[in-house]
Structures are given as structure tokens and as C-alpha cells.
Symmetry: C2
């Protein structure tokens, strides 16, 4: 199967795998798809090491990197740490302490400082453009911006390196803005997707974005974890698909075992778009954490982004660790970003097998459609 | 194009058109699709007249009827009118009065009684099974239940008449329950659909329902108003599609002019799943009505079904009439049930033309998919 985009990026099959796990990225690329490493959690040094590992594994086959960069790179953000912390109201700190106590998770003495440090680092020129510089020194084929239009520095650096720039969009307006910012490839992401997501479904969004940004190519994201769903996305006019959730239950995935078990057991009704982790609506597994924040009697309501991230991420790291120790309260609270396709994920498979299964079911779906029209 | 379902129902193209307008039903059937008349608003006598008119128009081509029946036909419901009215709290009556005054719509002196009468009629054996009896006396090919599993009386009467029974489902569990109740054809409806709808998107829901109820055939609903979207639905494993919103802006549609103008101007972000009209989440155009009920400071919150229907429908009838007179407050309040595809609806076309456009774009999409795999 060859789309123009496959030719351009040198991939056999236009199946893009977003993952924070280098093993998934390499496995998908080696199986004929296109792995994309989510780099947000890494320091530049660590990213360099991860990409060198991938380079060794994939032997010149194409892969990419996804970065979370602010629209403008701001060197002063690190200095804003104390300022940010000052803006977290006491009742939000107290609510986290209350939740940790109610569910029996040991609360840290100073929960917010390391998270604020991490956050500040990511938002600086050395954090964000440092990651971009490192990524572009490797033989990547694609660099993606997960949050808003990429800054001009990123677009021009990628152009000079001959690297395709992709960006996510949840509305037609977002997509148009991305193209104006110089993006080469739009990922139109429906509301059923995991993580930060809008309100419009993939079925409705994709054809509108395809028509709005033509001839810029569009990948479909949200609700795609099988060959039938990939065929549906291609029928809508996409040139390929961008999948995230389906890799979380692969053998290679970095997903914590307790979370993986929750994902395997969940139905498609068990996700929620909640502001409780980042301050913006992000689809994730429903858990005591989302229930307490979203509709608990004592909830102060989520703060905006980035303050809610400061409040949530330190607590979630501790909750995750306690869940891995099997603590029942932590197991109730723990969750992860995942799309509605979680209801389809009921066994652990190697990432390579997931690719082959999607390719095979895709071929069957296209053949069935062709037969119906004979 | 022929699916097994086309053979069974004698239709050329598995495009099902749900509409409250007999003209749309006849036009779609005559264009090679399958019109389905929503009968909930009709008395048995009126339904008989509408179906006789359709019979004359379609010359033996296949069409169907959609009824809203309670799971059990209850002859005592008419007597419950007074009882129901007693359960509407004063603050809900007062809030409607307040809204009508705030937006300058003349409030009726006794707003609830006629609505309660109408509601009681629909819920009785003479109301619901009266409609079914009338429908089955006409040469219909399909009878659909829009709300929960159809009662056994409906299933057995339809079977005796050789009429296929369809029913809507928003989850895999609903679909299984429908099949257990004797339903022959499942309409798997995604969250992007207009009217009462669940949380799971069409892209995610349809393959799950197809696998769960096989070999029972499945229609896809929600997010489908073009040939590409129909091709996507068929790729997901559906045997056909069930469309509602796309007919609301056709020439023939009964849609009130002021509402039609709002639909044509709306984007896919302008709908909301709101309990403010029926007490259950139903997707509709965002308007001052939904905003005031869902997040207005003075809102008492929607009641459950059917009480919220009693509260809302009398008011909405008056609001609609005032909107047609061009009253600005009423134009802010007025809305209608519609899916996210409303963002694609930007011109008024004959229903026949909509069918032809969908068929033509469908063929192009399938051909494009086949070419990509060559």
C-alpha cells in the first residue's frame, strides 16, 4: 500500500505509532509502520541516548519524534517556578492531601517543588529547543508538535534538516492555524482519542480537516486500533493514521503493570475527558482520581493549565508507585491517558504483531468494500 | 451496490433516512435509499394518512416506520398525568417562567397540561401499540424502536407481518439486549449523533457491536452525512448507514425556517449533549436554552425523563412560534436535535440530491481505497 505520504516518508504502511517507549517505536518502524517517540518526559541528554538506541535498531528505516513545545520559547519560564507555586491555592493542596489520606497513600511533605522544577525546565529554551536540536541531529523523518502551532524556530530548523513537521488539531480552525505556521502534515484528532482532545468525533472531524487544508496531507487519530478502523479513516480521506492507545498494552510498552491490568479490563465506557490531571480536558481512564476531582463533594474543581499539572503530577507519581506495591486505595486512584478504543484492548501482544494484525484486517476491509460495489 | 441487507429489504442502496417528514421519506426511497418515518408525533389516524400518502408516492418501493415505545405498554399511563404534573417542582416551573420573561417570550398561563396529555397518550396501549398496528397495516419493510428494547407485542406483530424489526443501541450491552428481545437489525449509534445518544463514538462503537451481535446485521449511525463517511461506516463492518441530521436542511424537510437557518450556520462545535429537553442526554444545537439549563446560575438543573419533557416541550413549542415571528430572544433560545455533522450542512438541497451525492462520493471513496492497495 502506497500513499503519497508513504513515498515522502519512506514508510511501507501509513500507520504512525505514538509511544513514550523506544521499544515500541523501533518495533513499529521495523514492522513497516512509522514509530514516533514522545519526547516530553526526557532531558536532551536522555533523548539523545534513546534516539541513538533507536537508530541502531531500525537500520535507516523511518521514525520520528513528538515534542510538547510552547508556542513561544520562553527563557524566563524557569524563573517563574516560585511564581507558579504561589498561584496554587491552599484548598487545592489540601484536597490532594485529603485524597491521599482518604485512599491511604502516603503524602509527600513538599509535593509541588520537583514538579514545578521539571515543568519550568520543559518550558525554557534549553528544555524545548534543546530537545528539538537533539532530535534533528538524528536521522528522523518527522517531528511533531502535540500542543498548538509549532514555534517558527522549530519549523525553520526542521525545514533545514529536511524533516517533515506534523501537528495535532481538534478543530478545522486549529488545522488552518497549524498550516499557516508552516506545518506539513496535520494529525486530525477526534474526541475519542486519549490525552488532550476536543469535542468533535473522528468521523466528523477528518473529512472537514481534509477539505480545509488540502493539499496538505492529513492523518486521522482517535478511535483507531484495528484494520477496520484504519480503513474507515482512509475512507474519510486521511493519508494515514496516528495511533497511541493501542501500544499501551503491547509487550514492549512502558505502561506500569497495575495500569496495564486496568487498561485490559476497561470497556469503552470507562474513559472520561477530565481536566483533573492537566487543567485541560484530556481523555483518560475513569478512576477515583477523576471522580473525586470532577464530581466529588469536597472537590475545589481543577485549576487551569499549567497549575493543575503541578497539583496532579507529583501526587500521581506517588499514587503510581503505591499502586505497583498493590495498595488498594492507590489502585482505585491510579489511571492513565487512553482513548475509547481501550474497550478493544484485551490481550498483550508484541507491537510488531499489532502492526501485522492491523495491516491484515485493513486489507480484508478494503477487499470487502470493493466486493460490495461489484 | 448490494449487501445482504439490501437483498432482504429490497433496497438498492443501504442508506436509511430517519425523518419526521413524509416528503423526505418518499424522496429517499424513490432515489434508491430507504426512508424511515419517525411516528412519535402522530396520532394513529394521522399516521395512517401519512403512510397512505407515502404508499402512493413510492409505488411499492421499501420504507419503514420508527416508533418510540416504552419497554412495556402500560394502559394506566394516561391516568398518571396528574400524578406526573405533581412531580414537577415549583422551582422548575418558575425557572421556565423566568427564562420566558428574560428572553421576552410570552409565557402561557398553564404550560404543562396539554404536554402532559400528549405525553400520557403516547405512553398508553392505544398510543404506542395503536401506532404499531397502523404501521403494520401498510406495506412497510421495517419497524424501528428508538428507545430501549421493543416490547414482545411489537416483535411478534412485526414477525407475523414479515416486517424487519430494528432498534438503536449506544453500547455493546444495549445491542445484546436488543438482540435478546428479538430485534433483527441493530442501529449502532455513536455519541456524535443527534438526539438521545451515548458517549462512545461511531468509530469505536460500530466494530464492537458488529462483533458482539454477528450474524445480526448492523447499521452505523452518528457522524454520517456524506459518501466518505458512509464508506468509513461500511469499512467498520456495518451493512448500511442510518442518517438523521442530513435531512433537516433538505428542501422537503419540515424544519422550521428559523431553525434551518441556525443549522446551516452552525459548526460542528455548536452542538451539545444536554439533558435540558428530555431529561436524558440528547445532542442538540447549543442555544440560550441549553446554556441556561446546563450552566446558568439560576438553573435548578434538569429533571429526569419524562418530567423534564413536560417542563421543556410546552415552552419550546412557544419559543419556536416566537422565533418564526422573528423575536430576538426566542431566536436565541430556539434549537433542535442535531448531530455534529451539522458543521457540514451549509446548503439546502432536495433530499433526492443528497442521496445521489452520497452514492457518488461513496463510490469515489471505495475506488480511492482500492487504488491505494494496488
Amino acid at each position: 500500500m502506497r500513499t503519497d505520504l508513504c513515498e515522502r516518508l519512506g514508510t511501507e504502511f501509513p500507520l504512525f505509532a505514538f509511544s513514550h517507549c523506544r521499544d515500541v517505536v523501533a518495533a513499529v518502524t521495523n514492522a513497516g509502520g512509522f514509530g514516533v517517540l514522545g519526547a516530553v518526559a526526557y532531558s536532551p541528554e536522555r533523548l539523545d541516548a534513546e534516539l541513538s538506541w533507536i537508530d541502531e535498531q531500525v537500520g535507516g528505516r523511518p521514525y520520528g519524534v513528538d515534542v510538547l513545545v510552547p508556542g513561544r520559547l520562553d527563557a524566563s519560564a524557569l524563573d517563574r517556578r516560585a511564581h507558579l507555586l504561589d498561584h496554587v491555592p491552599d484548598r487545592h493542596r489540601d484536597f490532594v492531601t485529603h485524597l491521599m489520606s482518604k485512599y491511604g497513600v502516603r503524602a509527600p511533605a513538599r509535593p509541588l517543588t520537583p514538579v514545578a522544577d521539571e515543568f519550568g525546565r520543559r518550558m525554557t529554551a534549553t528544555g524545548a529547543s534543546g530537545l528539538i536540536d537533539v532530535a534533528l541531529k538524528h536521522p528522523i523523518g518527522l517531528i511533531a508538535s502535540a500542543l498548538g502551532p509549532p514555534p517558527p524556530e522549530m519549523v525553520s530548523a526542521a525545514r533545514q534538516a529536511g524533516v517533515t513537521v506534523a501537528a495535532l488539531a481538534g478543530t478545522v480552525e486549529h488545522a488552518r492555524r497549524q498550516v499557516t505556521a508552516g506545518v506539513d502534515l496535520i494529525v486530525a484528532q477526534g474526541t475519542e482519542a486519549g490525552g488532550h482532545t476536543g469535542e468533535i468525533s473522528t468521523m466528523v472531524l477528518v473529512p472537514q480537516v481534509v477539505d480545509a487544508v488540502a493539499p496538505v496531507p492529513v492523518l486521522a487519530a482517535g478511535g483507531i486500533a484495528s484494520g477496520r478502523q484504519m480503513a474507515a479513516a482512509m475512507a474519510l480521506g486521511a493519508q494515514g493514521v496516528w495511533c497511541g492507545s493501542v501500544w499501551l498494552t503491547t509487550e514492549e510498552a512502558e505502561t506500569a503493570p497495575a495500569v496495564k491490568r486496568k487498561l485490559l479490563a476497561a470497556s469503552s465506557l470507562d474513559t472520561v475527558r477530565s481536566t483533573s490531571r492537566t487543567g485541560k480536558p484530556a481523555r483518560q481512564l475513569k478512576s477515583a482520581w477523576t471522580e473525586e476531582w470532577d464530581s466529588g463533594q469536597e472537590s475545589p474543581g481543577a485549576l487551569g493549565m499549567p497549575l493543575q499539572m503541578l497539583v496532579a503530577e507529583g501526587a500521581m507519581a506517588r499514587i503510581g508507585a503505591a499502586a505497583e506495591r498493590g495498595e488498594p486505595g492507590a489502585l482505585e486512584l491510579v489511571n492513565y491517558y487512553v482513548g475509547q478504543v481501550v474497550g478493544q484492548l484485551d490481550q498483550v501482544k508484541p507491537a510488531r504483531q499489532v502492526v501485522y494484525d492491523i495491516i491484515s484486517e485493513y486489507a480484508d476491509a478494503v477487499e470487502r468494500l470493493a466486493r460490495l460495489s461489484e
